[in-house]
Structure formats: structure tokens, C-alpha cells
Symmetry: C2
Subunit: 382 residues, 2 copies
Amino acid sequence: MQVLVYGAGQLAQMMYLDGAALGIDVQAVDVSNNTVVHPVSKQPLDCSLEQAIERADVLTVEFEHVPEALLETAEQSGKLHPNKDAILVGADRVREKALLERLNIPNCAHRIVTDLTQLDECVEALGERLIIKASRDGYDGYGQWRLSQKADLPALKKQLEGLDLVRVPLVVEQMLKFDREVSLIGARNVSGDIKVYPLAENLHYQGQLHVSVAPATNSDDALTAKALEIFSKLVEGMDYVGVLAVELFQCGDTLLVNELAPRVHNSGHWTQAGADTSQFENHLRAVLDLPLGDTTNIGGDAAVSAMVNIIGCDDHDLALLGLPGVHFNWYGKTVRNKRKMGHINVTASGYKALGSKLEQLSGYLSADHFPELVDEAARLQK
Amino acid sequence: MQVLVYGAGQLAQMMYLDGAALGIDVQAVDVSNNTVVHPVSKQPLDCSLEQAIERADVLTVEFEHVPEALLETAEQSGKLHPNKDAILVGADRVREKALLERLNIPNCAHRIVTDLTQLDECVEALGERLIIKASRDGYDGYGQWRLSQKADLPALKKQLEGLDLVRVPLVVEQMLKFDREVSLIGARNVSGDIKVYPLAENLHYQGQLHVSVAPATNSDDALTAKALEIFSKLVEGMDYVGVLAVELFQCGDTLLVNELAPRVHNSGHWTQAGADTSQFENHLRAVLDLPLGDTTNIGGDAAVSAMVNIIGCDDHDLALLGLPGVHFNWYGKTVRNKRKMGHINVTASGYKALGSKLEQLSGYLSADHFPELVDEAARLQK
């Protein structure tokens, strides 16, 4: 069985590693130059993209920002999972919001803006505390902005002047007071079977995921059922095949969809050590229409996991390898500021034990690069 | 970090997969033609053996039958772990027996025979029920023979006539009545730290390992301590670095060493799914002098594992992937009679649950190729 992944980063690499154990050959496409490469060594393989598409049983993606022309060709082969529309939902906030509305899935109150004059209407409808996001990433000058009070609106408009909002509209959202961010990772295979992992609880710092804990603390059956209902609506509504990550804001008992990622996801890396079947293996199973693997935590009802991202540094003390239940993962990249270099999965029996292991782990890491870790370790031990 | 493995079979492949996750680059040497290959694809890499030796931080082996000249060159680089003498102990039963005697480690009563006339003395000393083994494998006409009664000795001698017993002596052992075969897999790193996995209990069929269960049933602390003592004596006596497998016969409370394998071992494959750190990862950690990883079963005191070999067939029903706790591993080889094609790891909480899972699993496998499985499943459920 051969799977061709668009994108040649760590997600393709981890798919390759889990696939190889099952006898599945995963190849990757470096979409910057359309070459087919080995997902670990990144060395070019001796075949063209056309040949690789021809040979593959399935095409899939490790990220949503694949150039649309490539996705179009992939879709035409009849082998692409998830489908092109589903991938584009993850790449375009306008499509994402339209999907959520169509499927009647709770999400943040918002407006789509294609002309700056519409911003007044947004303040009128959503209030004066707003988050403004470019609907698509990767365009110079486009990004995210915040409005804290109505009086700043003229200045904001000035800042946004000159953007082509017809080509790249803005999504304007009410700034939400939420309790926490959780994510639901799950898979649907070609046959339509669905399996989801326990909810993960995600801690961000300066816009990047730093720590995930799964199952999320204080998550009862009702919350889990709500998340599953959202997930099922989404995958069925999109005729989705593969692993899908749903980022959710929790406000009391309510779950609002923040963002969809049509792929394996950083907040699901804990599944490598903590779940019976990893998200990478289940993604491959899903797209190849194999039976999905068990998604529960390994080690019984009390078993819990954490994932700690290693971001922008490589100054960890490798003595951390000696800690029981600590699993080190390294992507083999050159250090750059804010770059995801690797992650550490930690498994334990119960949150207290997990917190204690994270506290121990923090002793081998520089506090500068792991600003959330000590507090999170303390929270879990309470 | 780069590790060069002599041998390019599934053991090197599994080292590669675990190494890649840690950022360790594993390359393999196909010793049939001295080319350096990718451990999974088996494709030649763009470097000579000399270059690969030069670049590697460590050289190691996936099997003991590496041509001695290659081992000699490897040893001269100063990077070979385990050392050449330790590897040769696994390849030569005369060296193995000499080591066991030197270290005063219990093993089967035996004699070394370099002349057929010595066989009479063997019967005299060891009795008339004997197993006769060529001291080294891979020579035409050499293998294993059995003597069941003294009257058959002349016929046996006739059969052995013409063998060059000075070049390849025979090891003659008393045929032992043992209760079962167990194995101890453990690792010692360059710094001398030692960690061992729980004892595995091994079921053979026609000379091949079919099922391992770990921890071995009915193994108390005293037995485990005995095995650890043997292991420690061996690795310290050989100044051994890496994973070592010790096959043992259990007779009542006594453990006798049957065979040593200076490498990761089939009876340790369960550690991939069942132990906190796999034998493959711990082998790499040991030879690179990293801290050894935890070797206990995942999931608490009741956690148990089994490994089922897939031998000479590929007619399994892939629906088995849907069974919780069942982990499929496939080596990507062409089917041949008696060839190890892959293995299935099964984890459970307690032996009864493990037996029940093995029983379920057997429904997806052909009874012809898994002759031990149903009985073993029944035994565990008792």
C-alpha cells in the first residue's frame, strides 16, 4: 500500500514512521518545488510527482495550505482523502464559517467583511471587542488584528486600507470570554466508520500550542457527547475521510467551534504514546479504508497523557530520556525562533502523577522556552 | 546522531523506525554485498561502506552472523557496540559455552567434539539422549541432530562422517527435560547502566518462535532475580553494550542458559506495544550512551503482552486491526515458507483478558500457520 502526502514536514514524517510498521509506504511531496521526497530524510525520490500520483493508492495532505492547483490535480486522480473541498475549508475561514453555518454547528458570532465600511456594522452587531482575521493565511500584510474599543475603529480602518478584501475577505469575530480551549481529534474511514480520541485540553502561549493534556481535566460524558455530535455532523457533512481536528472553545457547558484542521494535529501528538492507536496510524487506516484502531488511552480508566512542544530551542537535557513514561520526539530540523523542533509525550496514571512527571520533566528544560510547563504541572497536581 | 547497523532485515528496520522518532539516523549494511542501504526501502544509499563507517557515531549489528572480516574492520573503527568478541559468542556455540563456563553460569551439561570418536565419551558422560549441534551455522551439511538411544550411535557417526570437526566442532548436549523456555531481554549502555524487561515465555513450533508472553506466567520475584543475576554476570563479563537476549530453560526453580543473542530479539518484539520503551529504542540508547528507558509493562501491575509471529503466510484478515490492544507489524517481504513476515503485538490487563484477545485474534488468522495460538489462548484464560 502506498500513500502520497502533500507536505513534507514532521506530520508526514510521523505518518511515514507509523505506516512503515504496518507495511504502508508513505512518500511526501515538497509543495514548494513539487518534488517527491522521503518523509524522514527529505531526500528526493527517483520519481516525478505524476508518477508518484499514478503509483499511490491514496493521496492525502499533512497541511491545508497546499496550492489549489495541486489539490485540483490530486482530486482529479480520484484518490484524494480528505476531499479538496474539505481541505479548503481548513485553509479558508470564509468557507469554514459557511460550513459551520450550513451544518448548524455552534461557533463564535461573526461577520464576513469584503469592504472596510462593513466594519461599522460589525461593531453594531457584535460589539466593540473584536478579533479580525484574514480569511486566508500566507498573504503579505494580512494577518490578525484586535479591536478593543469603538474609538480605535478609524485607526484600524487606516491600518487595513489597501488590502484586497474581495480576494481575501476578513472574518470578524466577537472577542469571546471562554473558559478554555479543547480539541477533538477523530477519524472517519472510507466506509464511514468514526472513532474519536478523548478531548484534549490545550494551552497556548503567544499563539502557539505549548501543552496538551488528554483526556481534558473536568470533562464529563455530556461534554464528550457534545463534542462527538459536532464531530459527526462535520465529517458527515463534508463526506470527510481521514483524521480531522476540531478546535473548540468551552464556555461553561457550551462548546463553540473555533477552527478546523483537515489533518493530523499537534494537539493529537499525545496519541503516539498515550492512545492504543496513534492519530498518524488512524489517519492512514482511514484513507486506506482499513478498520480504525482503538482510540482510548492506554492503561485503563485512570490513564492520562500530556504533550509538551519543544519550540525554538534544542537545549534540553537528554537525561530526560531516563524518566519513566516520558517519550521524546525530535523532528531533525535546524533551530529557528518559534519553530516546532519536537515534542515530548508523557503518560501517567492519574492527573496528579502526570503533574508530578511534568514537574520532574521541567527540570531538564529551560524555563524560557517552556513558559507554561511549571504552572500546568502545578495545576494538575492540585 | 548516526548509527550504522550490520544487517538489513526487519530488526534494522525496527531500529530505524524507533530511532527516527528520536532524531537518530539509522543506516543498514547489506552484508551480502557490503552496500549501505535504507533500512526500510532497502534502496542503496549514496555512500560507500567506508564512508558510512566514517560518518557513523556508532556501529552495531542486527544479527550475529556478520562475516568476521567485516566485524574486524568495524571493531578497528573503535565504534562497534557490542564488541566483536561478544558478537562472536552469539555466532559460535564453542565460544558461547566457554563464556558460560568461565562466568560460572548454569547451562546444559555438554561436551565439545572435534573428533567423532569423542561421541562415545559423550554418551558415557551425558547419557544416551543427546542433542548434537554444529558450533556455527550456515555451513552446508552442518546442523542439528538427535541421539535417542546408544544403539543409534554408529548410524549417527556414519551421518556425521566427512564433516571437518576441527574447523566447525560439534557441541553435544544432554537432552534436557525442561518445564518451559523463557528469555530475558535487557540492555547495558556505555556508562554501564543495566535495565532488563520482564521475563518472556516463549512457545516454539518446529524450531521457530511462534508466541511470546510477557511477563511470563507464574514468574515470581525469585525467578526474576535469578535471571537478572545471570544477565548482569553476562553483560559485565563480556563488557557488553547494547541489547542482549538470553534464552533460558526453566527446570523447576532452576534457570539454565540455552543460547545468547547479542542483539534485539524476536522474543522482545512485544516491547514495542507493551513496554514503556521498546527494545529497539533501548538498543540505540545503549550504544549511543543515552539514558536507558523504562522497561516495565505499560498500564500498571496487571498489564501483560503477547507477541504472535506471522510466519510463511500473508493470508491474515486485516479486520484484525479493529481489535483493541492489537498492534500489527509487517516487514514488507515476499512470502516464503518458514519466513518471518511480521508479528502482532497484543496488550491486555491480566492474562485472562490477554487469552481472550488472542482467542479473538485467532479468528482472523489461518490455523495452519498459527498452530500454537488457540491452545495458548486457552491456557492463559484458565
